[in-house]
Structure formats: structure tokens, C-alpha cells
Amino acid sequence: MPSPPLVELKNVSLAYGEGSERMLALGDATMSIDDGEFVAVVGPSGCGKSTLMKLVTGLLPPTGGEVSVRGQPVTGPIKGVGMAFQNATLMPWRTTRDNIMLPLEVVEPHKRRLRANRAEYIARAEALLASVGLGGFGDKFPWQLSGGMQQRSNVCRALIHEPQILMLDEPFGALDAFTREELWGIMQALWLERRFTAVLVTHDLREAVYLADTVYVMSRRPGRIVKVRTVDLPRPRTLETTFEPAFVDIVHELRERIQQEHAE
Amino acid sequence: HADTPVKFTLDWVFQGPTSPFLVALEKGYYKDEGLDVTMDPGQGSAGAVQRVASGAYDIGFADVNSLIEYNAKNPGKEILCVFMAYDFPPFGVYALKTSGIKTPADLAGKKLGAPVFDASFRLFPAFAKKVGIDPKSVESVNLTPQLREQSLVQGTVDFISGHYFSSVLDLEARGVKLDDLVVFTYSDAGMDVYGNGIIVSPQMAEKPEVVKGFLRATIKAWKEVAANPEIGVAAAKNRDPLIDEALELRRLNMSLQMNVLTPYVKENGMGDVDPERFARSIKDVADAFGLPDAPAPEKVFTDYYLPPKADRMVAP
């Protein structure tokens, strides 16, 4: 018997604003994410992907339908989440290191352990920074970093407390192809090791197929799920995998579905 | 045993006329009576009455007319005056000779400037009646003490009211000689109200030994100051190192001559009142303040705490 889904969305819709300002951002989303599944969401700009992320983590209450996590309806922000928002929102008054260590100050059990094990945690932060190519930048303030560097810090902050659910909203958009592909590898390794549940929003179909078990394609605003594609390529996937026909086929299939959406 | 603590408030800052209290404090006369007195400057008589009424202070030095008003408005909670310091009040109004004001009758229709809490100002209606002008014909303007004399000099107001020994000296400091002034004191106009006295809180009134001791010590100091005003000025100088000794000496002498060492005091000693005159003055005051009914004299003043007359002969 398969384990029950970790996150379940049933006919979820969301409208921003009230009265004449009311605008439907997410039309009718139904999806279920298993524990330990890596999910990617793709779709045109403005279709409600970021909104979907906020709904899943309970940051926004849906205006229609139901969101449940581990069978419980979601009423507020759920626990054990690491989220990399689309805009980095690093705190300008903290150094980069302190920024990525923020979750450790808030999330248990790290919060409890932080004071006693500070050195160890700092080492962990430094290692994480180094792994994304930001070694030595821990002491800089976020506004002293380039756009891509801010984005990488943002990802580090989502990872550092080893969350069970990882939400990544276009995490690599501002990076060059090579840095990006390197980070795919790092992300996959992490996932293989820890088997957290991950939701990735991206515009890069190769990225989606490389990392995900399931890819959801969304329609234009108001967003609906128009296609669900399981990616059953064996893990670990490598850059070579991306040139294999099976991989390329999936990318093409997704591409076509989106194009259709776009042409409408 | 420890000395009884007594909190004492003046009606105004430390100056020559109030220096006897400082002399008594400095020379340890209060201490000799078993009192531990702390002394603070005040912000006008009304304030001093309030401080004593509220129990924040045990004893105060305040204008008895203010006290009459307070007692009239707070029946059952009267504060008593136990010692009359100014047998004649220092109240008066002052104008420049250049203004053309010659007699009190000329004040009608003119503009009066004074702090609203100034006793002379409050009693002006009674004075006006005495000299036969309609108090309503006089427009009055509130002026803080710092502004009062300057406004007269600048002509913003036609005349001002205030304590004689304050206003005359303040005007002099602004270059106005006594000769250039028209002075109408209230006592000259036949208004024989009283001036400042020592008032005690109801709690303190129940400790006659303390009050009596306080009065004995104060009178002793007053006697010395009357004989030798310089020691008063010296005490004030000790307390407030910035004062101008010559000026304070003049102020003190003025107040001694005009307000303290009156013929009545020379004859009957300091501190007591003439019952008949006092009753009359209460009526006058009640009239001027528009009080519904005047308090009985015994609800305002008592001679219960006074030392014997022989001890109160302060005139040198």
C-alpha cells in the first residue's frame, strides 16, 4: 500500500484582492505530493506558480478548495519547510552568513542547540556557502553581492536547517549555465542523501526533468494543472543523461504542452 | 531620637523677603526645636496652598487671600493660617507717568497686565470698587512674571499689578525710576486685607508641638533679620549663589518696612491678626473673588499656635 500523500491540493483556487480589485490568480489546482517526492512546476509567467508555493506551505489560505498536509487541513504555515522565495529577500542588516543562519535561530532543534554548538553551525554554513561558490563571502552584506550570488545565498538559507519539505521558486534563474548545472548536481546529491520532499518552480525544462520525479505543467492565469508528467529516468542523473533520447523526449513533450498553452 | 521631618514650601523663589526662613534653617533654629526642615521654592501662592492642601507639604508660606478662596471652595477641608507674616499686603498697581494716568479713576477703560495667579491681580476688582471704577471696564491680559514689567515698559499694557517690592525693583532694572512711576498700593486705597502667612496642613495642625516649634524658630530668625537685614541676604545668597545682594537687601528692607513692621506689629507683635479687620478683609476678598459665601474667620486663621506676645515683638 503506498503511503498517503504528504501534501494534497483539492480544487484549490486563490483570488487576490477584494471587490472590484479581485483577481483570480490560481484557478483550480489539484495535485498530491508524496513524501520524499521531487516535484517540479512549470508554466507561463504570472500563472500562479509562486502563489501555489505559498498555498502549499500554508502562507496563504486558499479562497476555494482544500490544502492538506499529512492528512490535516492546513490552517497556518506548516512546519519543517525550507523555502527559497523568488526574490531573495535577504535581510540587509545581516551579513550573508548570518542571513543563511537565520533558520537555525528559529527552527527547532537547531534553535535549542545553536548557542552551545555555534562553531559547528558556522562551519556548516561556511561549507554550504563554499559548495555554491560563495566561500569567503560570508562576511559580506547581501547588498554587496551580485544578483546571482544573492540567489545562491537564498538557496543556502532554505537548505541549512535540513527541512523535510524544500520549496524552491526559480532558484537558479540568475545563474550562468555551468554554475546552474553544478547546482543541479549538488541538489540531486542532497536529495538522494536525505530524501526530503521538494517542490521546484522553474522555467528551465531541462532543470525540471533533471531534478524531478514528477513535472506539473500549469496553464496561463488563472492557473490550472494541465499536465502531469512522471519522469522515470534512473538516478543519479548526470549531465550525460540530459543528452539521452529519453530525457530529450520528455523535455520536448513538456515543451510542446507549454507551447500549446502559450499559443492559445 | 530623630528630628521630626517637616516639608516647607515657599510661595516663590528664595529672595530677601523670605530669607528669615533660610536664616532659621541655616542657624539651626529648627533643629533646636527638634525639626528637620526641608525647604523648597514655590510657584505662586495658589500653588503653595495646593501643595499643602494635598499633603505634599506640611507647612507653607502663602498669601492668605488665596487661602480664603481655597477654604471657601473646600468647606470641611480647610487649611489654617497659623501666623500672619505680612500685616499689610504688598499689593498694588503700577503705571508709567507718561501714560497720563494720575489717579486711580484714570484706570477705567485701560489695559491691565498681570499673571492670572498674582494676588494683586485677583484682588483688583475689590480695589477697583474701593476707588470707584467698574472693574469690568478694565481689559486684563495674562502675562507671565517675566513679561509683566517689560510689557509695561513697551506699552503693550497700560498698567500692571504685583507685589510692590517685586514690580518696583523689576521696573527699575528696566530703567524706570520710582519717580517715573505712578503707584497705587491697595492699602493706600483703604483696602486693609492681609498678606502672606504661614499655613499648615490638617495633619500638621494635629501636632501643635511641631507647629509651635516651627513658629518659635521662625520668629527668632525674623527678629534677627529685622534687626540686621544683611544676615537675611547672606542666607539667601548661601542658598542661591547667584543673587544680587544689594538688590535683595533693598527688597528685604522694602518688605520689612511696608509689610512686616507695621504700626500694629510694633505694638502687638508679629503673627497675630486684628479680628475685626480680619473679618472685614475676608468679606472684601469673598466679594472680589465672587465667592458664594465667605468662610468664618476662625476657619482661616487661628492664634492657637502663636507664642506669647512678648516673644513676638520682632521690631528692633
Binding site: - | Q50, K73, N74, F117, V141, N142, L147, Q150
Partner: protein
Amino acid sequence: MSALQRRAIRLAMPWLTLLALLVLWEVACIVFHIPEIVAPRPTRVFEVVIQRWDLLLRFCLETLWTTLIGFFLAIGFGLLLGLAIGASPFIYSGLYPLLIAFNAIPKVAIVPILMIWVGIGALPAIITAFVISFFPIVVNVATGLATIEPEMRDLMRSLGASNREILVKVGIPRAMPYLFASLKVAATLAFVGSVLSETVGGNRGIGFLMLSASARNDSATTFAGLFAIAVMGVGVYAACALIERRMTRWAFRGELVR
């Protein structure tokens, strides 16, 4: 709790706290036998308010308009000087210390001198209200400007905008939340200023009324005056808060206070 209930409670809250405070005060007066001269019971004060309604209103209106004129002058000049200080390091370093110095000086000491210069009446009250409420506006506007994100400035500079344009297009909108914060302080200070001036000299305004009442030992009327000032202060604040909500909605878009 439904949104409606929340809203109702929010509207009722200030009145409830006020009521609680007044009841507490009344009870304290009775229990501790506080003499009326020290602090009259609120019921006594309201009695006076009702009895002397017309008188209070007249004096209040005198105070209100002088205060408002001073307040508006303070907004105008405060904004200008705040912008100047925020925009020019020389004006900043030349004027700021002097402004601070001037503001540390109690206005009580200045007002009599002012009256010697300009006479007695509404003018010194307006000037005092202006002078006293001016400074918080300057400080907050200058801080608002100084904390402009450099990205915004770069954007404007890339368009070849002059410093004045940067000030107008970015500086002023950006400083608005700071401005409105300062207006709450400035409005209350403006009342303090005009009332202060009225107590120092003249025979107009609620300050004069209060002072002469206190000289008569009529503390109920003095307190009625205090209440009246408080009510006017809250009125002006409410007006500012209303405009604030309209003009700086963007800054409050994520309000903790919802």
C-alpha cells in the same frame, strides 16, 4: 473570531480603554480621598464640561485654529528643510546641530522673549506651535531621505535626473511613511506649543482658560480644559492617520497591524 468581530472590537477598543481609565480614576479618587484640587473626579469634570459647554468651545476653537496654522506651517517648512537636510551634506552638517540645540531649549524660556518681539495674541501662539512641531518633521523626513535604497537612486541617475528630480520622484514618496509618523508627534506638540503660549501671555485660548481656572483653584475647569485639548489632539491625529492610510498604502501593504 470573524473578521467582522475583530473589526468591531478594534473600533470599540479605544472607547473601552478610555472608559476603563476613567472608571479607575474615579474609583481611585474616591478610595484614596484625593482632594479635588489635586485631581478632580472625571464625573466632576464632565459636569463642568456640560455646564460650560459654550465657553469651552469658544476657547477651544481659538486654540484649534492657531494650532492648525502653526501645524501646517510646520509641515510645509519641516518638509522643505527636511528635504534640504536630506539632500545636501552641507546643509545637514551646518544646520542639524543648531536645530538640535534649539530644540533642547525649553520653549517656556523662549516664549516670553518671543512675546516681547511680536506682542501678545494669536501670533506668538502660532509661532510657538510652529517652532515646537517643526523639528520632528525635519528629523523624520531627513531620515526617510537618507535611507533611500541606492538602487532607486541609481535608477533615477541613469535617466539623467537632477538631484531635485530624485528628491521629488523618489525622496518625497519614500519619506512619506516617516513624515506621517512624525506628524503624529508634531500634531500633539503643536497643541502643547499653542497652549503654552496662551498660558505665558494673552487672554485667549484654552491655555488661558486653564491657567485662570487654576489660579481660582477651580481644578475641575482646568481638567475640563485638559480633556478638551486631548480631544482636539486625537481629532487632528485621526485626520492625519486617515490621510496616511490613503497616501502610504504601499508602505503598509504588509502591515503587522491588520
